[in-house]
Amino acid sequence: MLYGTLLVVSLYYLLPLYVMVVTSLKGMPEIRLGNIFSPPVEVTLEPWVKAWAEACTGINCDGLSRGFWNSVQILIPSVILSIAVASVNGYALANWKFRGSELFFTILIIGAFIPYQTMLYPLVIILREIGLMGKLGGLVLVHTVFGMPILTLLFRNYFAAIPEELFKAARIDGAGFWGIYFRIMLPMSLPIFVVAIILQVTGIWNDFLFGVIYTKPDTYPMTVQLNNIVNSVQGIKEYNVNMAATLLTGLVPLIIYFVSGKLFVRGIAAGAVKG
């Protein structure tokens, strides 16, 4: 019964993926026949090549590759910067309580509940004023800021669960703010860093809203480019190319999950249960 249910549910989830993979390996004439579930008679990788290197978005016809590299250039600094700042934030809020630290934390958390839409236009002005509008650096800044509430909460709760006496012992041993952070707290926090990395990589990679607003065609991230390819209304719809492009875009978060799935689960559990 249990396995029956699991089987049905996994089929339900895997079927669209199957259709995507199968379609991306077919040529257009075969797709026109309409049997979307049938495996490809003639396997071709051409749609993948086209999606990566030749598909047209607007005036550029160099495929998703440009978007991919843009996304990488946005992703890496955003992930590193947001996690670095948020972990120090969380550490300070958990261990170095200062006057008003609780208030500060509350305000930060409220930030997580304000709808993004209300902040879009003010951010446009801010980015314009500091000269980062339309540049990759601007998007990095936006991602770093928007990742702050949830990541700080994550790190604060993790550090707060580390016994306070450990922190006291380190202070008596003469370690300062950074000494305790780097030598005591960091080595104990691998699981929560993995969780933070996964959250940020998937979140930033999959972001569409900020990407479409704060960049311009040259600096569009992969998701925006994917949308432009798939939603283009001119000419024939190349389903095989669209499927290949979508799979390519989804590959990065997928790989992250596969590589770190075990650590991810452990990190979530470590956050919940002390020790």
């Binding site: 016994p163 006496e165 006291k168 012992a169 202070r171 008596i172 041993d173 003469g174 005591i184």
Partner: protein, 358 residues
């Protein structure tokens, strides 16, 4: 007396809650002072203030003649041992011991020397390369003590260091800590809620309640001449028996009878009035001794608790429960009549209104 730690008019409050109020305490060089009290009495808070882990609201703390009230914990010349050991889990025992020295910028050779020396003193040499998780509770606590030891500090602070250990190990480490104090001769302040640890280890005990020190004296004085009813009840197990009555001169009368307290050492000029007479279970006499005691009572045995070495007996004396500690070999059954007695030189008299010793 050479004062090593002086605490002057210390106040600590969290918002509206006063945890410590106008607390004064002098600790002599080389002294072993135990802070004893039930949970929430402020003993651990006081220790954290001395360590510099809590900022005080008012008052001063001097260590070794230096005002350290606002010094960093690492600059106070203290080492601290915690209940949960607080060993750095990712470092080896050696790493744990040398962490403080590295932070202080001590040279590599000196670190090796000091770690080796501390490991030898505490007999943890074979464990140096292990991680804390591969150690037993007793070994971990030894490493924690070692971490204080390597730093050559004047003052050791212990925050309930044995509370996480089982009874047997606790007794062993208690002896080791006492021995360590005798060898090193450092000043030690030890927080505990365990009266046996307090009695066995301390040169002086400070009994705390509600952020105040109720009595600061030698274990002997605390046991024999408790300054007030709270201290009298807190120390000793089973707890002291109390008779509620009135005192006039050396005659104490209560519903259980009229007792003469001739021979009691009054703390001040005796005053008449409502009084509590306390007598410890182990000072209650039975058999022939009871017959010749100054005060005699007739009791009915109510409950027997054989401990092997002793037998604890709860008796009924004219409607009041009285605990007595008898020899473990005495055959006794509930329901039996038992003549009891005690002498006035071992009783404690407290004013019923102020609860202070008379």
């Amino acid at each position: 007396m050479d004062t090593n730690i002086a605490i002057k008019n210390l106040d600590l409050s969290f918002g509206a809650i006063n945890v410590l109020q106008d607390l004064n305490l002098d600790v002599a060089k080389g002294e072993f002072l135990v802070l004893l009290g039930s949970s929430g009495c402020g003993k651990s808070t006081l220790l954290n203030c001395i360590a510099g882990l809590l900022d005080v609201t008012d008052g001063q703390i001097h260590i070794g003649g230096r005002n350290v009230t606002w010094e960093e914990p690492s600059n106070r010349g203290i080492g601290m041992v915690f209940q949960s050991y607080a060993l750095y889990p990712q470092m080896t025992v050696e790493g744990n011991l040398s962490f403080g020295l590295k932070n202080a910028g001590v040279s590599r050779e000196q670190i090796t020397d000091k770690v080796a020396q501390a490991a030898k003193t505490l007999q943890i040499e074979p464990l140096l390369k292990r991680k804390p998780r591969a150690l037993s509770g007793g070994q971990r606590q030894r490493v924690a003590i070692g971490r204080a030891l390597v730093r050559d500090v004047e003052v050791f602070l212990f925050d309930e260091p044995l509370s996480n250990l089982d009874a047997k190990l606790r007794a062993e480490l208690r002896v080791e800590i006492k021995q360590l104090h005798q060898t090193l001769g450092n000043t030690m302040i030890y927080v505990t809620h365990d009266q046996i640890e307090a009695m066995t280890l301390a040169d002086r005990i400070a009994i705390m309640k509600g952020g105040k020190i109720l009595q600061l004296d030698t274990p002997n004085q605390i046991y024999n001449r408790p300054a007030n009813k709270y201290v009298a009840e807190f120390i000793g197990s089973p707890t002291m028996n109390f008779f509620d009555g009135t005192l006039s001169g050396t005659a104490f009368s209560c519903p259980q009878g009229d007792f003469s307290v001739e021979g009691y050492e009054f703390a001040a000029t005796p005053s008449a009035g409502a009084t509590l007479l306390g007598i410890r279970p182990e000072h209650i006499l039975t058999g022939d001794q009871a017959a010749s005691a100054q005060v005699r009572l007739l009791a009915t045995v109510d409950l027997v608790e054989p401990l092997g070495s002793d037998t604890l007996v709860r008796c009924d004396v004219a409607g009041q429960s009285v605990w007595a500690r008898l020899d473990g070999q005495t055959p006794i059954e509930p329901g039996a009549d038992l003549p009891l007695g005690f002498n006035a030189n071992l009783v404690n008299l407290f004013s019923k209104t102020s609860e202070n010793r008379l």
